[in-house]
Symmetry: C2
Subunit: 317 residues, 2 copies
Amino acid sequence: MISLGIDLGGTKILAAVVRDGQVIDREQVDTPQTGFEDVADTMAACARTVLGRGHEVTAVGIGSPGPLDYETGEVIFAPNIAGMVNAPIVRAVSERLGMQVSLENDANAAGYAEHLYGAAKGLGSSIYVTLSTGIGSGLIVGDTLIRGAHGQAGEIGHMTVLPGGPMGGDGHTGSLEAIAAGRSMARDASYVFGYDMETEDLFELARSGDRKALGIVDNAALFTGIGLANLVKILDPEAFVIGGGVARVGPFYLDRIEAACARYLVGYRMPRLLPAKLGYDAAVIGAAAVAARAERDRGARDHATDAAAERPDGRLS
Amino acid sequence: MISLGIDLGGTKILAAVVRDGQVIDREQVDTPQTGFEDVADTMAACARTVLGRGHEVTAVGIGSPGPLDYETGEVIFAPNIAGMVNAPIVRAVSERLGMQVSLENDANAAGYAEHLYGAAKGLGSSIYVTLSTGIGSGLIVGDTLIRGAHGQAGEIGHMTVLPGGPMGGDGHTGSLEAIAAGRSMARDASYVFGYDMETEDLFELARSGDRKALGIVDNAALFTGIGLANLVKILDPEAFVIGGGVARVGPFYLDRIEAACARYLVGYRMPRLLPAKLGYDAAVIGAAAVAARAERDRGARDHATDAAAERPDGRLS
């Protein structure tokens, strides 16, 4: 099945035609910072450009930063895009394109793509963890995304792992994100070295053997490992798929996380830690897959309704 | 549907005939501490006694302390019952009774019962939390129990919430259980007051206004609230159902937990905190429900196989 994914990011909007998890055509534009109507116009224009090249697509899926209201199809709040507060993105894009539109959180979408087509292909359950400026996740159990009762599931970066620890953006102390996200490592590095330091520079310094830089990296890896171990004790996935900018550092960082996780899993089976495979395309592929699934579900419902209508007792065959 | 539940506890074995979540007959005996064969004999004898009163039952479900191996039907380890190590309980009971036997972790079974028939009846998702000597849970999303890839899901008591905090039984510091379980509160009270104190005595002292006792209770409630808030951020359930001996203290303790949880959920929708309704029968009702469900699934599979056999192309209708 062919469907269109639209990945709404803080700097770029990517529209891609996807068949069986493969991007077969794409178009990318800058994200406007001039309000929601402009964002919706730009998303629709970007979609029309790629669709205008002759692809037969009936379902569209949007991957958006959250939190989202799945009932109303709204982005409740996207901090990196101006004007995205209670934004009815499903209705706006659907009206502009004249097509059915699905909505999914971007980390969920990326996790769904990695589960269906990427690093976790063929597994019964997986947790996609994105280590980046922040820390987020997508939870997939038995081919189903766990969104939660109010669309707030998977916010593992907000999990408290050290009450009294560093202050986080939500006014709590000691969340995983406040200790171990890219932004938090940069904060610690800037404090320790006395000048503004980016996460990439910190990792370079750590690789060169600098003990202070290694201390910061080890601390972040320790708490990330503790966070993953907590997820094992709660959800026991077959594998973690680790993605996001910080994860691209590779084994130098991921091996430290794995060792820390194992230390906190005495008596437990350790799941596999797999590097993400789909890179920056994961969210758009996942958004397209969510749209394709919604289309199939609609088809199945219509088919069931037709079949029921043909039977005198009205029951499904 | 009528099925039989057997709740294997550290001191008692309870067998109950259950119809639509209601116990209609029951039998209880002491748990032998003389090895696995005696446990299996006693469970089968207890089941036969209640079945001998003329109940038509075809499915049996066992609720057992974990961890369990669901593939082989074994209890990997049950610390409170002598000889229960890699114990093939499904095969042993099935052979003795000549019936199909299902196995479920006892906290999962209790959570399933509360979800189907008790405090969380009618909700789309719920997390059953047992606050007792230890702290455990059962996770239900969309009427499905989440067991995890290796049957180790739901062990929320082992979640690390304060690295460097009190030492737990698994050799890690700072698990929720090591801080806030009944046994941990008793440990802290005995230290503070200088003599062996039970959890019940601690709560009585706290109710009377003793500041030190209140300090211990408040600390346990704070960390339990943090643990529940973490579960909201990860799974976002519609409700928590709170059961177990410590929870029977009532609002004096549960209100403190709720207040602590809310403090750690800024920006999140707070799920409802519901006291468990089914009391000590929850696990046996849940075990019977798991058996009934397995029986239905077997029936559906057989039916599908029959239908496929009748079709020349072998495909399911």
